[in-house]
């Protein structure tokens, strides 16, 4: 059985996901000691700027522009509208060269070896449901249910799966939900028209469970810890990260917070990009 981590990187005009993927691949090797493969629509850019040594396999994706637009914040006071090229996440089932795969967002910063153990799991599909906002000043309800009157929220940020018949059905279902998004978002009472993989995966899990809460998806170890793009990643040294997190009711003010040895989903892509630039400059 082949095992590895799979990343997808599709750059837009503002966010360099390829750079994030290279950075994450190095941390995965350091903390998980697993091979990493990447699917990207910017293969030439990857080869010319970063080289190919960090990846086991590189899979070329066709360039597709996206009309899925959203604001990317850089702290509480700065934001840019850019395309959110999150389509075809479910293709990972076909694209992954591994029998057992962890698919990970490129802004998930690995700082420990906790996820390594999932390859021994008796479950064929693991995903995060429980999550913790490290700032604890925001309403977390949006990460508990996909809408006020709807089903449980699952994070598509990190997923472990084996290539099984059931999982093939699941990933095909996610593709279908994505294609028919305007229908499914209404059925599941999602007010925003923005397509999100978290929502599509949550809906697919609900359907796979017979339209109820069930055991199709088991939980990855620990909690999904995250900071939103209203926070700023300020410093990173080995497994230590320092954040400036949004201060409740004080727009533009922050509280310092340090994590050690904890995996964090860093949604502020701009501050992550600045930290990666610093790290690469020091190498």
């Amino acid at each position: 059985m082949t095992k590895g981590v799979f990343l997808i990187a599709k750059n837009n005009g503002y966010v360099d996901y390829v750079k994030q993927a290279v950075f994450l691949a190095r941390r995965i090797k350091k903390y998980l000691d697993m091979p990493v493969s990447i699917a990207t629509d910017s293969v030439e850019y990857l080869e010319n700027i970063f080289g190919v040594d960090d990846f086991d396999k590189i899979i070329k994706l066709d360039y597709v522009d996206s009309s899925n637009m959203k604001y990317f914040f850089d702290g509480t006071l700065s934001k840019k509208a850019a395309s959110f090229k999150n389509a075809n996440r479910a293709d990972v089932y076909k694209l992954s060269p591994y029998d057992e795969t962890i698919i990970m967002d490129t802004d998930y910063i690995i700082s420990n070896d906790l996820l390594k153990s999932v390859f021994d799991s008796t479950s064929d599909f693991l995903i995060y449901k429980k999550s913790t906002d490290i700032a604890k000043v925001r309403d977390e309800i949006e990460f508990e249910k996909i809408s006020d009157t709807s089903i449980d929220f699952y994070w598509a940020t990190v997923i472990f799966f084996r290539k099984t018949k059931t999982n093939k059905i699941f990933f095909n279902l996610v593709n279908h939900i994505e294609e028919e998004w305007s229908h499914y978002r209404r059925v599941y009472q999602i007010t925003s028209s923005l397509f999100r993989n978290d929502f599509a995966f949550s809906i697919a899990i609900h359907i796979m469970n017979g339209f109820q809460t069930g055991s199709f998806a088991q939980q990855l170890p620990g909690n999904m810890m995250y900071t939103t793009d209203k926070d700023i990643l300020w410093q990173l040294t080995d497994d230590e990260m320092m954040f400036l997190v949004e201060k409740k009711d004080y727009l533009g003010e922050y509280t310092a917070l340090k994590t050690t040895g904890q995996n964090i989903h860093v949604m502020n892509k701009f501050s992550l990009g600045r930290i990666i630039d610093k790290e690469f400059a020091n190498e």
């Binding site: 420990n112 906790l114 153990s117 021994d120 799991s121 008796t122 479950s123 913790t132 490290i134 700032a135 604890k136 055991s215 088991q218 939980q219 170890p221 620990g222 909690n223 810890m225 410093q235 230590e240 320092m242 997190v245 509280t255 310092a256 917070l257 340090k258 994590t259 050690t260 040895g261 904890q262």
Partner: protein, 116 residues
Amino acid sequence: MDERLEKALDFSNYMLTLNNQKRLLAEKYQEGLIYFHNGSQFTVTRELITFVSVMISAEQDEVVVIDDNSIPCLVNDINEFYGELLNTYTTASNDYYTEYTKLKKNRSVEKLVNYD
């Protein structure tokens, strides 16, 4: 600003950061308590340790325990399992204690987040 208020706000800022760091440490402790056995995932609790200990006292050779995902797991070597549970629990708790003690000694925001 009134000096009394300024000092109170400084302390308030310090407490905010201290509480945040304590919370993150508690999260890390919970991750440290996770133990994997035969593909099953367990968060080690005093209840689990006591249950396994009772089963050993009752001279059971093997035991079925329910993991974090509500999946039953057959443990064949109960003594080894017990040893691993104890090891995971004590290692995580000792680390928690050490880190917590260190944290409490830091009397400024800068020291709490170890910012140079």
